[in-house]
Symmetry: C2
Subunit: 165 residues, 2 copies
């Protein structure tokens, strides 16, 4: 997908495999909001979700691996999900939706997140999407600035309703 | 799907058919924001989008028909799309996403929108979703209050990036 030289080796985006799941859950859990929402004690729900995503060509689960010497896959140090959604509105526009963007805490500040989102924007264009969208928690003010620098506009209110009893 | 008695007849939710598309586009266009985004002059993009949605069991396109005497289908006077999205985060939670909720201007204030969203919440639970989500434009303050009354929390910022050149 793409490769970039960073401190410590080569950063390489690739499609996530089932073997990446533990690293992905760690990335999701290492987060102010994610800490209370994720648990690696039972991996089975994550595995089921992985299979559902892998079975649907309209969802793309991506990890970034850090490869010390450029010749192996490298453990997953970043992740995101990109979904392609059909809709009637906006003249039948396809839109892409970005979820769960995470970069390992030790690797932040090197522009890996920017590289990932730029790749996701390019892939969304390639797949014919007219619009890309995401929501971030109101408390993630650094993320808002990050996405605004990439051209996103905070035009909407994101509303959530928990459904679990 | 469901039926409710309202002024002027029976309001009945059903899966949208291709024949509903012109009415759905009218509903989407009859809106402060939609007016500039929709055009019924070329229906072909809408038809392509309809086929993509109809082909994917994880997207549900719904219309509400107003049936004067309770024995026919009735023209579409309301519409929404409900999508079921797998994801890794939140312990592999499925989430449902509501898009394009519209009620004919002449029928507003009778609670049809509330009936539709309540049905969508129930259907999301039935399909095993842990979370339901939507975004509304920051200018739609009445919609924010409407969804908050139904239990949604405005916890997120919704960011959009147009991709068309």
């Amino acid at each position: 997908m793409f490769t970039a030289d960073v401190d410590g080796g080569t950063f390489r985006l690739r499609r996530a495999t089932r073997a990446d799941l533990p690293a992905m859950v760690r990335l999701l859990a290492d987060d102010a909001l994610g800490a209370g929402r994720e648990t690696a004690q039972d991996m089975e729900p994550y595995q089921r979700a992985f299979e559902a995503i892998a079975a649907d060509p309209n969802h793309l689960l991506v990890v970034g691996g850090l490869v010390p010497h450029g010749d192996a896959e490298g453990a997953a140090v970043a992740t995101f999900q990109l979904s392609f959604l059909p809709g009637i509105s906006r003249q039948g526009a396809w839109r892409s939706q970005l979820e769960g963007v995470r970069v390992d805490a030790s690797l932040r500040g090197q522009g890996l997140g920017k590289l990932m989102v730029e790749w996701a924007i390019a892939e969304s264009r390639r797949r014919g999407c007219s619009l890309m969208q995401l929501t971030t928690h109101v408390s993630r003010t650094a993320a808002h600035r990050f996405y605004e620098r990439l051209g996103f506009e905070a035009s909407h209110v994101g509303m959530k309703l928990p459904l679990q009893d």
